[in-house]
């Protein structure tokens, strides 16, 4: 069973979604990520979706779930790299991604995570 790798970068975890996710892979990612947030005591998760050429309500729900689970584990989530065509489609689909912070790229996402963690101290 393949899995999406989770990289540790200091206080944060970085996930780059590069494959067209089927359901099982998405569910494994939720499990793996929540386990890692707890074991690494991470304060933030950065999810890079720049490789995704579409986000449907299933993937959107997975992202929202991860953000929700991370929040109750005292970690912030930032989604980075959404393609413009994906953003246009998501809005038309009616998917609001509540509680999910976004940034244009990994660099800006890291800055946003740092800032949010600082604000909470």
């Amino acid at each position: 069973m393949d899995r999406i790798p989770i990289l540790k970068m200091g206080k944060f975890l970085l996930v780059t979604i590069q494959v067209d996710m089927h359901d099982q892979l998405a569910l494994h990612l939720q499990d793996d990520l929540t386990t890692r947030i707890a074991s690494e005591r991470s304060h933030g998760v950065l999810i890079d979706i720049s490789s995704l050429d579409m986000v449907d309500s299933f993937i959107g729900r997975m992202i929202a779930n991860i953000a929700g689970m991370a929040r109750v584990l005292d970690a912030e989530t930032v989604v980075v790299g959404m393609r413009p065509s994906v953003a246009i489609t998501l809005v038309e689909l009616g998917l609001p991604l509540p509680g999910v912070h976004t940034a244009l790229n990994v660099e800006k996402g890291m800055a946003l995570l740092e800032q949010r963690v600082q604000e909470r101290l």
Binding site: M54, S57, S85, T89, E92, G94, L95
Partner: protein, 133 residues
């Protein structure tokens, strides 16, 4: 008017990934813009998930449409599942009979140029969408 009709099974979640790739390929071949490709692939993904989750599996027919300068893609999702008792309710955002977000049907409709649905309790469901270039 019709050519290159392809039928793909939707019996497992991996089939949805395969179907998305097939729809994307055809949208590119039909000259769709990147945004239009993304819209029809996303609509297809929502409907395929309905076919799998609520219809118990089925199939999709992909048709390439071309009439003069107008090109498009028509997708027909078919299943022999329990059917939808109240179509208007099912089309409403946020309504779900399962565990989903309830955006599938309404969202797919918004992402398409033409949308039709035929379903009756016990008689399966057939959803057809068309997107023109």
């Amino acid at each position: 008017m019709l050519n290159n009709a392809t039928t793909l099974p939707i019996l497992r979640s991996e089939d949805i990934v395969r179907m998305r790739q097939a729809v994307r390929e055809r949208a590119v071949a039909q000259g769709f813009s990147l945004v239009d490709q993304t819209k029809i692939v996303t609509a297809a993904s929502e409907l395929a998930r309905n076919t799998l989750d609520y219809g118990g599996g089925g199939e999709v027919i992909i048709e390439l449409l071309g009439s003069g300068v107008r090109t498009g893609i028509r997708l027909t999702f078919r299943d022999d599942g329990p059917g939808i008792p109240d179509i208007e309710q099912a089309l409403r955002d946020g309504y779900t009979s399962g565990t989903g977000l309830g955006l599938g049907l309404g969202g797919a409709k918004r992402l398409s140029n033409e949308f039709s649905i035929d379903s009756k309790p016990g008689g399966g469901t057939r959803v057809t969408i068309t997107r023109w270039r």
